[in-house]
């Protein structure tokens, strides 16, 4: 009896170990289960948050939908796992999710010692400071002695420490794990300053009780290229994720939108023909259906559409394109040729 128990335990443990060892062909695994498990934020308006009907919305959510459209021809074949800043990389490393589209900054140490592959940036961001107007602060250099609300486990925590150190200012961090709890604490006045990526600050301010009472200080203290990422080990899967983001950017540059994509199929421009799979080749090279890019644009839209729908000037967030404009408009969004 005792021995049987021990053996059963041993079997359970080895199963666990085998589960841990799993890191093989991620693309095959995705195809087999028939949907993409995407890690998203869950609490940042405009990037990854369910709306009042429970439908996931946001720039990062649309990125995951674009990958699903490319792989399955159906943008709805995504399941979302809301993750905290601390859980996100572990969830990806352990195989709990297939791709992380959760405003993660690409850094050298994450790429190497975390064993991750970041792909094309889907939002160029930078860290800023949100303060109540009544504090009368005009610049981040005046924040000496301030109490600052920070999310843990992000580059934010270190950037803020670096900024205050460099400028020889004293400060006191209040570090709370959940984004919503942190925002609540800040709006209740526990902290003088909330620091995070500027886009997140805009999102947080947009859903605050009195958005007009708060300003984002002009200083941007860091570079935050936010990009989707996958784990090491499956280069084909990485390429698909990469080119799904790039396809949205390329589509905008080629002038293809979700509305005109069907007409564009008749275009005589060889670049557009290649892009939409009228001239075959790209799909086969990636191991996808030739219609993959068509499906992305048709079901999700080009990058400009996705941006304007989720975070653009006509949304509550009201963000300008800025660095996220196409390179032809003075931004950083630039796709390699699709050939």
């Amino acid at each position: 009896m005792e021995i049987r128990k021990v053996l059963a335990l041993a079997v359970v443990f080895s199963l666990f170990a085998v589960g841990f060892a799993y890191a093989g062909k991620d693309l095959d695994a995705v195809r087999e289960k028939g949907f993409i498990q995407a890690g998203v934020n869950g609490g940042v308006f405009g990037f990854g948050m369910p709306d009042e009907k429970g439908v996931w919305r946001g720039l990062d959510v649309d990125t995951a939908r674009a990958i699903a459209a490319a792989v399955f021809g159906d943008a709805d074949k995504v399941k979302y796992t809301p993750l905290t800043a601390q859980q996100r990389f572990t969830a990806l490393q352990s195989g709990e999710i297939d791709v992380l589209t959760r405003n993660a900054t690409r850094t050298l140490s994450r790429e190497t010692s975390l064993g991750l592959n970041f792909v094309q940036v889907n939002y160029y961001d930078g860290q800023g400071f949100l303060v109540p107007k009544k504090l009368g602060v005009k610049s981040a250099k005046e924040l000496s002695g301030a109490t600052v609300c920070v999310l843990p486990g992000t580059t934010t925590e270190q950037n803020a420490a670096d900024f205050f150190r460099k400028n020889k200012m004293e400060w006191k961090p209040v570090v709370i794990e959940s984004t919503t709890e942190l925002a609540k604490t800040f709006f209740a006045g526990r902290c003088d300053v909330l620091t995070s990526d500027a886009s997140q600050l805009a999102g947080t301010r947009a859903v605050s009780p009195n958005p007009k009472d708060y300003i984002i200080l002009p200083e941007i203290i860091s570079k935050e290229p936010l990009a989707p990422c996958v784990r090491h080990g499956d280069d084909q899967w990485r390429d698909i994720v990469d080119f799904s983001v790039l396809a949205m950017i390329e589509a905008e540059e080629l002038g293809i939108t979700s509305k005109n994509v069907d007409e564009m199929l008749k275009s005589t421009d060889p670049a557009i023909q290649r892009f939409l799979g009228v001239t075959e080749g790209n799909g086969k090279a990636l191991g996808l259906d030739e219609k993959w890019a068509y499906n992305i644009v048709k079901q999700v839209g080009n990058y400009g559409e996705v941006f304007e729908r989720n975070v653009g000037v006509n949304t509550t967030l009201g963000l300008e394109r800025g660095l996220n404009a196409l390179w032809t408009n003075g931004g950083l969004m630039y796709s390699p040729p699709f050939k």
Partner: protein
Amino acid sequence: MPEKAATNSTDTALHVPFWRDPTKRGIVFQVFALLLVGGVGYYLFSNTQANLARQNIATGFNFLGKEAAFEIGESLIPYSAADTYAKALLVGALNTIKVAFIGIIITTILGTIIGIARLSKNWLVSKLSGGFIELMQNIPVLLQLFFWYALFYEAFPSPRQALHPMPGVFLCNRGLVLTVPEAHPAHAAMFWALLIALGLGWGIARWARKRQERTGQLFPAIRVGLALCLLLPALVWLGYGAPSALDVPVLSGFNFKGGLTLSPEFAALLLGLILYTSAFVAEIVRAGIQSVSHGQVEAAMAIGLRPGSVLRLVILPQATRVIIPPLTSQMLNLTKNSSLAVAIGFPDFVAVTNTTINQTGQAIEGVALIMAVYLIFSLSTSAFMNWYNKKMALVER
């Protein structure tokens, strides 16, 4: 006849193969089980190592010597972002110890008072403490922490409109800011004087007990001890020329400078843990007291002891033996629950380790550290309580 049977059995034991001998069979099974567990452990370990190496994920504890580069909100020792991860983790561990130590002491006292109050003959007192116990026991502790924390930051004004209930004390959503005496070498000397006074007090109490056993004469040992604890440090203070400079908190810029600040995070965590755990302690104390047979009380009353003395001399010493083991597990619970600090932003060991894990990416090492540290905390608490338990049990004559 019995002797013969005995020799017979040893004779046959020589011929019995080892798998028929329950003792030897038991040993074989245990060795087998041990090997199996060890093997599974080794497999898990090597498998993890191999996987991490294959995915180029860094391993090992080398990161401890690197610069932490993040700031910690409150610390018992001087710390800056330029210090190492090892020091950052030490700051976190000390913060956990601070909460656990203060929490355990206050919880034990408060729990005992409420437990005794619950048995009070006074209807109001017993119902009040009963209500407190039911309320605290049945609300999840995380919820209580959120409640107290929200109370602190929602109810209190900003530093510029801080409440000022008495001179030198400010209450705002940055915490409770107190005036404290300015740092002076006399304080260290006073601390040593207090230690000496405590030692003397203990000696006097011992001597007084021995004398009472021998002659029956009472000696006010507690009063003398208290007087010593007050007088000795006071004498030292006077000896240093009575330094009385105060470190008064002043509002400058965003916050108070100077003084001693009790942060809302710390206060909320401590309050939540104390109230939650003391409800359980109260029940343990009540059960312990009720386990002392009523005849003991009646006997004590019969020889003319007052109710207070009955409690102190007859009931509590016997109840203590019943109380200590479950009390230990409540102390451990409090220590472990203190890791909920991450939810309300107190930089305890788990919070600091979480940040470390995220910056270095070394989750396995970080989690191993968390487990090791909590194991050490728990084992040392248990060891101390077991020692105390043994000491109490030996009082039997």
